[in-house]
Each structure stands twice: as structure tokens, then as C-alpha cells.
Point group: D2
Amino acid sequence: MSFEPQRLSAQSAGVFVISVTPFTPEGELDLPSTDALVDFYLERGATGLTLLGMMGEAVKLTAAESQRFVDHVVRRVAGRAPVVVGVSSAGFAAMRELTAASMDLGAAGVMIAPPSSLRSDDQILNYYAGVADAVGSDTPFVLQDFPLSTGVVISSAVILKIVERHANCVMLKHEDWPGLSKVSALRAAQAAGTSRRIGILVGNGGMFLPEELERGADGAMTGFGFPEMMVDVMRAHAAGDGERARDLFDAYLPLARYEQQPGLGLAVRKHVLAQRGAIRSATLRTPGPVLSAADVDDVHRLMQRQARRLEALS
Amino acid sequence: MSFEPQRLSAQSAGVFVISVTPFTPEGELDLPSTDALVDFYLERGATGLTLLGMMGEAVKLTAAESQRFVDHVVRRVAGRAPVVVGVSSAGFAAMRELTAASMDLGAAGVMIAPPSSLRSDDQILNYYAGVADAVGSDTPFVLQDFPLSTGVVISSAVILKIVERHANCVMLKHEDWPGLSKVSALRAAQAAGTSRRIGILVGNGGMFLPEELERGADGAMTGFGFPEMMVDVMRAHAAGDGERARDLFDAYLPLARYEQQPGLGLAVRKHVLAQRGAIRSATLRTPGPVLSAADVDDVHRLMQRQARRLEALS
Amino acid sequence: MSFEPQRLSAQSAGVFVISVTPFTPEGELDLPSTDALVDFYLERGATGLTLLGMMGEAVKLTAAESQRFVDHVVRRVAGRAPVVVGVSSAGFAAMRELTAASMDLGAAGVMIAPPSSLRSDDQILNYYAGVADAVGSDTPFVLQDFPLSTGVVISSAVILKIVERHANCVMLKHEDWPGLSKVSALRAAQAAGTSRRIGILVGNGGMFLPEELERGADGAMTGFGFPEMMVDVMRAHAAGDGERARDLFDAYLPLARYEQQPGLGLAVRKHVLAQRGAIRSATLRTPGPVLSAADVDDVHRLMQRQARRLEALS
Amino acid sequence: MSFEPQRLSAQSAGVFVISVTPFTPEGELDLPSTDALVDFYLERGATGLTLLGMMGEAVKLTAAESQRFVDHVVRRVAGRAPVVVGVSSAGFAAMRELTAASMDLGAAGVMIAPPSSLRSDDQILNYYAGVADAVGSDTPFVLQDFPLSTGVVISSAVILKIVERHANCVMLKHEDWPGLSKVSALRAAQAAGTSRRIGILVGNGGMFLPEELERGADGAMTGFGFPEMMVDVMRAHAAGDGERARDLFDAYLPLARYEQQPGLGLAVRKHVLAQRGAIRSATLRTPGPVLSAADVDDVHRLMQRQARRLEALS
């Protein structure tokens, strides 16, 4: 590699786009299309990329395909942005393997969501002790807190303990619902000096981005067919113009809402990305939903209305 | 009773507001405040009211309180609108008791969500056979299909079988995600003559109302601090002005989204209703969330922005 | 009442039989049959009775029926044994109501399992703070820890905190799997003086009774068609004859195993009790399983083999 | 390969032992120890072996390790018995890969449990359509029906549809609870000519083996530290001596029950196997339970009592 790989740190911030994984219409990994996708994300202002998240259809790839995809993306990014790799796995051996391979290939860090079997605080803490060991103390990791999907409830107190016990836990991907109070609680602990700083990037398609930024979030780590929404909302927020941040956010919200439908959402996102030329095919690997003609009509109408409203804001 | 109680039927349509249950700051049932709430809902254009839904804190009431609340509301409504009562219960004996009492008091019908233990199609069909028996063949009932909350997945085929087997199943409260295709499938079965008509009212706080109306929904049975949103969107849709329906919808969407946060949502809704004078206290019975100062600020800001945007639309 | 009601305490021990609730073949509460059942349990050596547990079909009774059943049993027991009442409920208002009524009627205490929605330690602790308030500081309560059924994992640390915070938590109904280490941990905390003593009665149909007694359990709070198994195993254990305790246990195990089948178990138990003359009808309220002819053959064969084996042991 | 690989068929029957996966004390795959284990199972009378089941710690292996283990076992078995491989996976790509590799290596077929996200009948049928495609029409597969672990309820009707639609579904690994009626229902459908024959092997550690054999099961596909229990019970059953079958079963039941503890069970099984010399180390890969000294005492005592009782039966 001719570039110096970036490392995720507790100071990392911005918009880390959860990347889709492009497939050919036949369901094969589409690496050529991946180049265009990477460029699309970076040109829209992404600070970083996160691969193999839930919306990256990670579980549908073989171990070998996962590594091939990471390798391809990291090469294409070529040092322009940090690349985080989702390594959540049913077992630590597979997690260890993908982590080691990803870091060797030049990833900036890894992300791990808890398995849905975890219940008590101790179970969660023990699990992340295993995670910290599996990824290795040199590998920065992101704790993904997404109870709506995992069924695992991680209290603020447990997050703070994980942060305290494992120096390589540098970031929270926060997508608890309701989660604004959690952002506030974590920032309060940091302000009070009882916890070190970690990055807090928000998820849920950015559906609460303006409020989350005001509570102290450092950015977003999520996906959306128009990732520039998150970039532009953040910029307006950073410029102190909260009303403009919300005006922009509101313009994208009707489509963002449609894309957040559980189950169908990724098909919507890939359709939009294909429409915008970011990927060649909107194909999901099976099993996965397929948009009906009526769904497609909905999406196009929402895109048209969104374009008109953004026009009025510019 | 001096008025003729209305009965729910397969032709019922419009906006049935899922009513909150008002409590005093001490947590007692606030019947005087209920009068104002009923009037508020009807003045905003509600076609009907639905009591003791999940957002009506039904599980927090004793059996006696439930009956007292139904009695009070039905008397206040005084025939101006049909009143549906949520009678979901862990056992059929309690369901039978509340149903009989509610219908005696003048309710138009009852609503039942499945218990979260159901899994297979047969289990669901057997359960609704028990429901149809428990509520009695004379009592119209609404099937509540809300997998995000119940964890029970009811396919279109199963809904059609329940409709076929039980003549008193007259309405679907649809809040599946993704659910637009389900509305389409049910309407297609009706159009093809393979199923009789039932009413389809949508839920989820109306978050997909414009699209659902276009797929053939008859209205909404859900709650929101501004129930006039649903009324006005439906009117514009009925008038053939889909763009205006969406303009109105979009104006309310930022707050609707905030109110749809799992866990926190009902506290937001009650706060808004209290702000608007519809109830005297925003109190939820314990266990229940309490809004932080930051949450309240968020809500007020969203209300202000919403007012400005509606002003611009008028 | 002419007798002094007994109160559950941290010293309570022995076999508290989880009572079935007898119904007529038509599904009505069978109070006359209840008299025979109470006498049956006490004559087999039960130290106490626990009503309205999961295996008491509690959720299938109306609030009024629950109170009527408690009243009837307490009167029949007439001070011969303490009566504990399961008051688990979806809401605190109903729990408060049934608790107050039960204690007024002469119950010795109440039992509460957590609702299946609880996940994190804080959620569980908050819930039991609500429980302690709802039942009142004068009412001794049993914490039911049954993750296989509730899906809620309560760590030993959380149990110890509940015990520390709420003086009226006097007993654990332990039926975690694997749970032997939990009994050991709780007894170790008590021995170390870091926690006060509570009673630990075991559940799961007594399927691990010999081992649990050796770890320090005070008895059992569970059901079985032959409750004398638990009484006799405890007596042999108390007499220091662990081998005989296990011989007796082993003789009953094949049937106990059959009765522990999730879903079908209660129908087996009621069939056995009806066979033994303890109840008049083995009817379960709907929805509930019905034994097939083959199931009945299995049960009878197991009963015959059990009788032969006990004969050989006597 | 110098031997002809056996293929699983709808006529397959007997005891397919769910093999543990041996690890060194350091947690590495212990292939030398695997040789002894294979021989142990076959010498105790196993008809076949099933690798990489839930009790084979399948999720803790990397894809490469899984293939290496299958390869090693198949070579050691050397045609003496059919080898089935568990290929359950979060995604079809990984399932396809492991299936192809296993069949190439000489496996007799594969086994697939449903992912815990499945709910409705249609979802299950669609999933197994995907399975049938992923494993390929030439590969015989076993449907694993284990709701206690997966949370997925598969009705008899759905099983019959899967059997009808996919000729390569040749066997059911039945471990539903209560499940005896399911065995009866499937055999009745076969007897009535409405369904073709499939093999039905039972699970749950054989805890219901005598009753299941009487209902028409063809054997067992499960694990236990004393797999000869299943072999001997089957032989007595096949010889028409149901009482002896039950005498033998009852002798093993106390330990079988102890080994069936969720969570702890596999540690018990590996301890017993290590005690018996079948594996060198009882190590489980993390995360996994570790037996306490008291647990070990329990197991040894149960083994001693079991030995005495078997002695008395011989």
C-alpha cells in the first residue's frame, strides 16, 4: 500500500456512510460497480465508510467474499477516508479472522453488534470482553447499539463500563430508540470527568440527526440513498445554523422515512442508489425483498418532491 | 341511553383516533379531563374513537377502571361517533368480560391484537377462532396487526382466512412494516372477488398515510398529538389532490417522527395534548417514560416549525 | 377469620405446591372440587400452597374469579398452611388490586414474575421497585426467576440488589436453567454476610431437587401430579440420607420428565390429579392442550412403572 | 477416497450421534483427539454421525476450520457410517459453500435449522425453498425442528409441505416440545398416503426416546455422554421388549436430565466424554460455560449411581 492507513480514534467524527454491497443481477459480488459506489460516497462528502454492516448484507457473504470486498474497497479508497468493517459474527473465531484480515488490508477499525441472545448486563460485559480479546488490543472498535434489530438493551452504565474496561472501544454507533437521552447521559459522564471521550455517531438512517447533533453526537454512521443529507445537515449545524440544518433535514425526511421501513428499506436504498448511478444493479442477495411497481412509484414521487423542495431551499 | 349506538361495519372508514387515557398528576384516572379530550378529538374531525389501545395504557388499568373509562367516554360521545374498545387480554375470560361490558355500554365494536406467544399460522388462526367466540358473533371486531410491537407476523393469507371464517371480523388495523404491499394484496383479493370487503385503517401514527391511502386504505386508526393531520390528509386525498395531501403530511412529519419513538412516544403525545389543552396533565401511569427538559425543548421547537409550515400552506 | 393468617418470611421453607386451578368440563371455576384439591395437597405433606401461578392458569381468570378462588382456598386451608398468591400482571394497578384483596383474604404473601419485555439490569431493578411499591411494604413477596418462560435473565447480582433494596422480598422461586450455580452464589453471599438470608424454593417441577437441596435450597415451590415426591425427597435429604433422596427422586423422574413438557405439561398434571381423585375434571380453560389417547396411554404406563418402583423402595 | 460415500435417504434410521467438536485446552481444534472420538461413537453402536450441530459448537468455528473438521472425520469414519453435516448459517452463500465442500469430502447429507427471525408459515416455506436451492437438489437434507432453541414453530402441515416440495428433504430431526403428537401426525399422513415417507430421528438428548419410538420415530439424532443408551433402548424396542427399553432408559435418565440443562449441558457432556476417554480435553471454545467443582461432583455421583443401576439390569 502506498498510503498510510487511517485509524479510528475517540476523536473520529463526521459522516461514516454504511455502504451497501453491490451485487450483479445474478447475485454475484459486483466489484467493478463497487468502485463507482466508493467514489459516489466520497464525492457526496462522506468522512469515512463502514462496510459489512447489517445494511451491507454482511451475513449473506461467505468469509472469502467478505475479505475480497474489504480489500477492494480499501484499495479504491486509497487512503482518502477511514474504512470501518463490520465483523459481528456468531462466534469469536470468525470475528477474529475477519478482523485480522481487514486490519491487514488497511481498515481503520471494526464494528461489532451484540448477538441477540444476550440479556443481562453481565452477559453483555462478558461478551464485549471476548470481543476486545478477539479483535486485539491494537484494533479500535465501534460498539453498535441497535436494540430494535438485535433485541439487546445496553444501558448507558454498561456502555460506560465497556469504555472503561477496553481502551480500544473508541466509538459508539448509537441507534437506540428512544436514544436522545442516552447521548445526553454519555456526554454528561464525559463532561463530569467520570468517563473518557468516545466518538458517538448516530444511526437509524439519520432519522433523528438534528436532535442528536444538538445533544452532542459527533456525526452519523448510517446509510441513506442521499448521504449528502447527513453531510449538509452536519455542516449547517457546525455553522451554528440549526434552523437551516432542520430545513434541509425536513426536505429529505419523507424519503428517509420511506427508506427506514424495516424489511423493505434496503431495497429502497439500493433502488435510489441505482437510479443515481452509484451502483449498476439494485439487486439484493436472496433472501431479500423486491420492490413492487407501486413501491417504485412511491420512491420516484418522493424523489421528485424532494428535488423540488431542495431547489426551494437553495 | 338516549341515542342509538353505532356499530362498526366493513364499510366503516375515516379517522378513528386512538385515544390516550388521561391521568391526574397522582396517577388516578382523570374522568373530568376525559370530557375535554373527547370533545377535542371530535372537534378536530375524528370519525370515531378507539379506547384502551396500547397507547391508551390499557394494561395499566384494572378491569373496573377500564369499564369506568369506557362508560364515561361513551356517555360523553353521546352518539356523535362510534367508539371502539381495545380488549386484548392475556386470557379469553377477561376479554369476554370487557367486551360484554363495553358493548352493553354502547361501544361500536372491539379491537384485539394477538399475544406475543403466537408463531405459526395455525396458532394465529386458532387464537382468532377463540377471539371470535369470546367476543360473540354479534360483536364486530378489529384485527390489530402490529408485528413491531407484538412480534407476531400475520401474513395476508392468514388475514384473509380470519375474514372468511369470522363474519364479525370487519376491520383490519394495519401497522405491519413494511406493510404497503399487504394493503395492496388485501385490496386485490377483494377486487378479485376471493374475499369480502373489510375496512382497512392504518396505524403507526400515520407515518405512511399518503401512500397507504393510495393503496386503498379507508383511513387511519392511530394516535398523534395533532389528529387533524390525518383528517386533513384524508380530505385532500378524497378530493383527489394527492400533492396537497402530501404537502400537509410533510408539514406534520417531523413531529410525527419524533412522537413515533418507541418507548418515549406516548409521553411526547400526552405532552402535546396537554400543551394544546386537550388534557389537564401529561402524566403517564408508572411504569412510563418522563420527558427531559431537552425532550420538551425538542417538542416545542418542532411545534413551532410545524406551525410556520402549516401557515405557509394555508 | 377464626385463624391467624401465616405470613411468608425469609425463614419460610418446605414444599409450597403450585396449585392447579380446577375447572368444570364446561370451563367454569370449580370451587367444590377445589376443597378436595386443597385437602389432597395438604394430606400429601405440602407446607404451603401457591395459587395463580403460570401453571394455575392465572391469565385465564378474570379479576373477580381470581379473588373468588383465593378466597375459597384460604377459607378451606383455614390456617393449616400459608397461601401465596401469584399476582404477576401486565400493569401495577391490577397487581396492586389483587395483592390487596389477597392479603385481606388471609394470604401469606404474593409472587411476581417479571414481564417478558425487561432486558437490562436497570429495567429489572426499576420494575421490582415498582413491584415493591405496588404490593406495599407490609406484603412479603416472592421473586419468581424463570427465564425459560419469561425470557428475562436475572443475574445473581441483580437478585441480591433487589433483596437489599426491598425488605419485603423474602423468597426466591428459583427456576433458572442452568441454575445450580445461582443457588450456590446466593448462599455464598449470605454466608459471607454480604446479603441477608432469603428463602430459596426451587421450581421446574422439581426436576433438579436433589442437587438443589444439596446446594442450599430450602425446598420447592412447584407443581407435580405427585407432590409427595418433593415432600419425601426433602425428608430423606433432611435426614441426611442423600442416597435415599435420590432413589425416591429417580423413581418419580420418568413421569416428572413427561409432565415437564412445555405446552403439554399442565394437561398431564391435571390428568394425573384427576386420576388420583384430587380434582373432578382435568379440563383446562381454552386455549389449552388436550391429551390424545396415546398421551394418556403414556401417562398411565409411566404411573404403573412408577408404582412398581416405589413399591420396591418401600 | 477408497470407500463409497453413503447417502442419507428417507429410509435412513438408527442412532446418528450429534458429535461434539474436540478442542485442546488452548481452544484449538483437536484433530488427533477427533480420531478417538469417532471410534468411540462407532464402537458404542452409532449408525451415523452428525457434525457441526448446535452442540458441536458450529458457530464458534471459522469456515476453514469447519471444512477441516468435516474432512478429518469423514476420513476417519472411512465409510463405516454416514456422516451428516450441520450447515445452518445466517446466509445462503456460506451454507452453499459448506454444503458443497462437505459433500465433496464424502458427507452423506446436510442438516439445516431455521434462523430465529422466521415467524409465519410462508416465511418458513420460503426459507426452505432457499435452502433446497442452496444445498442443491442432489444433496439430501435434514430439517431440524427445534423451537426451544430457534424460537421458530414449524407446524406438521408446514413440514409436510416442505417434504412435498423438496424431494431432497429426506429426514426430520424432531425436537419440538411437546412433540409426540407431531411424530404421530407425520406418521399418520404417511400411512394415509398423503405424504411420502421421511426418516424421523429424535433429539432433545433422547429425553423422550421410548415414547417417540412407540409413536413411529426411526431413531435418534442427538448427543449424550453415553450414546449407547440410545442404541440399547432402540435395540430393546426393536426386539419388542418395551419394558426393557424403558428400564434401560430410566437408568440413564438422571444423568441425561442433568446433561439437558440449557447452557450448561454441553460442558457436562464433554466432561463425561473426557472422563470416558473419548476426548482428551473437555474444553469448550469461549464463550462457553465451565463446570464448577460442585457440578463435577454432581456428575460423578450421577455416573456412579447409573453404573450401579445398569449393573442391576444386566
